[in-house]
Amino acid sequence: MDVRSQISMVFHLDKCIGCHTCSIACKNIWTDRKGAEYMWWNNVETKPGTGYPTKWEDQDIYKGGWEKKYRGIGLKGAGRRKGLFNIFHNPNLPVIDDYYEPFTYKYLDLIESPDMDDQPTARPVSLITGKPMDIKMGPNWDDDLSGTPDYARHDPNMKGLSPAEQEALFQLEKMAFFYLPRICNHCLNPACVASCPSGAIYKRGEDGVVLINQEVCRAWRMCVTACPYKKSYYNWDSGKSEKCILCYPRIESGHAPACMHSCVGRIRYLGVMLYDADAIQDAVSNTDDDKDMINFHLNVILDPHNPKFIAAAKKNGIPDSTIKAAQDSPAYKFVKEWKIALPLHPEYRTMPMLFYVPPMLPVMASLTETNNKAQAEKMDPKAKVWDDNWLYDTSTEDLWGTIDEARLPLQYMANMFSAGDTKTVRDVIKKLMAVRFYRRWVTVGDVTEEKTNTILKEAGLTAEAADEIYYLTALAKFDDRFVIPAAHREQALEMMEFTGDAKGSMGFGFKEPPKRGL
């Protein structure tokens, strides 16, 4: 057993309002530079939709992630053989048009335009060539456009849905969509690390952050292909690949990453998880069935309260403060204790350490057909024509029934969060519904205690757990959402350099080993 600690994250999708504040916070700090303008280390997608880069989930196109081989696993589009053989031209590399051509506007034209009859305009210009261009794609071009034929219909997660189910998703009246914020998952079995021929990408042992050493990267661009989440980006100007660094300078000094800190919906949680590094190899290669991956994945994560694991962690040099952080970790609670957060596309077998609480809202209510005539007559005919006969139905009679009649089919969620296994997603949604039902009993009181208890039991929750879930979902304060292990400021310098070198140095403003001159 080799116990290590990992900074892990949970995004609660029900709470995401799709405001993109997170993306902007990240962009302002890290990627507002030449060559990186098109990169969104944090991006928010509308689902169903094609995402960024377009159709990134379709690994028949992008060839990302691991796949099961005869024995063990292998990289789908990179790896030793493919990586070295294709080093002169990588056939699976996305190009800039798969993301979008970065642009700006000639704002100065507005100010410097001479006096004339027409309003001056600020023309869009390409940030690559500097020439005027027609904008065909942009960041979040498909924002909120889920129902339109261009986007939702091409969502790779639609597979396994019957044509009728798919069609229902595109009906304006029935349409449902949600937002999916994505950052690098800082995987336990990162495909990007494995694919890098130079060995420039590495996982930090102390906190599991996956980084690219800019001095070692040689632009072989295999990581861009290998990361199934397309979260390793190629900087076309500097000729180096870059990726989300989980704001490690902020984490080291005890701050939440910028995207998490700024999140308006407060959907983001961050905490430490302990895992057994020795178990990873078996976990990713043992099963042929993608659906088992979630269980294998979760089994690698260790219970931070178990004395055996604590002892093993201490033996490995994990500080007490980190173990304490692991015990208080909101991520651990969501993922392991309550089991209501799932990894995105576990079938890629990278073991992502960013987990999602699947959205319930489109599931919770169904649309029933009713006669809305009486309602329609009350309306001012000039103000609005009320002619549809749908009712947003939240009745509590047939509790679990709404899951299957949900406007966003369960199969769709399952394709995203559990390799197509509807049972896993269903169990999660049941728990989330049970918590709502329980709160309805507590606050509104229009349901019976007996029924509440049955439902909690059926979902596999206790009243205490429901209270805790409710607290962490709805009321949690900053310090509950982000449990960052003590930064050990006394060691912060040592993380970057050997302090013994500087001992005995003198002066301010420069540091040099006190070495005798020649």
């Binding site: 800039i96 021929p197 930090r204 001095e215 040689r218 632009a219 072989w220 076309w236 993380m495």
Partner: protein, 242 residues
């Protein structure tokens, strides 16, 4: 004439070697960030295939053939003793030369025609491209005009190059060579001189270690068990990540 020959075939090669060695080491130590293949595939991927692949495989072959003629001239001459083998080798090498030429021209046209590529094209890139193009054309021409280069290279030029590397330069043979061959040699020295200042340095960091290193890489800023070792006062373990 003698002075010119002495400079071109004794002075220049030594300058080239010195600049090459000092240049690559200095650049690696003080500007490691700039060691990159600077791939532009991300901006344009389809045409690159028709340029980059023939160019790279072709030049790799030619490079190793030149190296072989220099390092093991006797074996090459022995190999060529049989006319069929000589013919196969010569035609093969010529085809690879054509491949490189095709690749270089494709790459050049691609660079110039695609406005997206101009921002990532430096003056040095153009210089290098033209230099390589000249060198390949010279090589093809002299392979065509002065036949059976694999043999005469091994018997005439290899001893000359060898004399350079053993610091006993002997240019009598080279001075008598036709102009084309002299130009090809000078081109080679020029490429070596420019090498540290171009993107060519990426060939020095060809990631062969990938073949034997384990897939996953985990780095500890400190070897975590040793840094806490109470038995030692002065740790000798340096952080690994920079």
């Amino acid at each position: 004439m003698d002075i010119l020959n002495t400079f071109l075939f004794i002075g220049f090669p030594y300058i080239a070697i010195a600049v090459f060695l000092i240049g690559i080491i200095y650049r690696y130590r003080y500007s490691k960030f700039t060691y990159s293949s600077l791939s532009s595939q991300f901006l344009e991927g389809r045409r690159l295939y028709w340029g980059s692949v023939p160019f790279h495989w072709g030049i790799l072959f030619l490079f190793f053939m030149h190296l072989a003629a220099f390092l093991i001239p006797d074996s090459i001459i022995a190999f060529n003793r049989h006319p069929v083998r000589l013919l196969v080798l010569e035609i093969g090498a010529f085809m690879f030369g054509i491949t490189v030429l095709f690749g270089l021209i494709t790459l050049f046209v691609r660079r110039i025609n695609n406005p997206r590529l101009m921002p990532v094209t430096s003056k040095m890139d153009i210089t290098l491209e033209l230099l390589l193009l000249t060198q390949v054309v010279l090589g093809l021409l002299l392979a065509f005009t002065t036949r059976w280069g694999s043999t005469w290279f091994a018997s005439v030029l290899s001893p000359y190059l060898f004399s350079i590397f053993t610091f006993q330069p002997d240019i009598t043979a080279v001075s008598a060579m036709p102009l084309l061959i002299k130009l090809h040699l000078i081109g080679a020295f020029l490429i070596f001189t420019l090498f540290p200042f171009t993107r060519l340095v990426h060939m020095l960091v060809l990631p062969l270690q990938y073949i034997w290193r384990p897939y996953q890489r985990v780095l500890w800023n400190w070897p975590r068990k040793k840094v806490r070792d109470p038995k030692t006062v002065w740790t000798r373990f340096r952080p690994k990540n920079n």
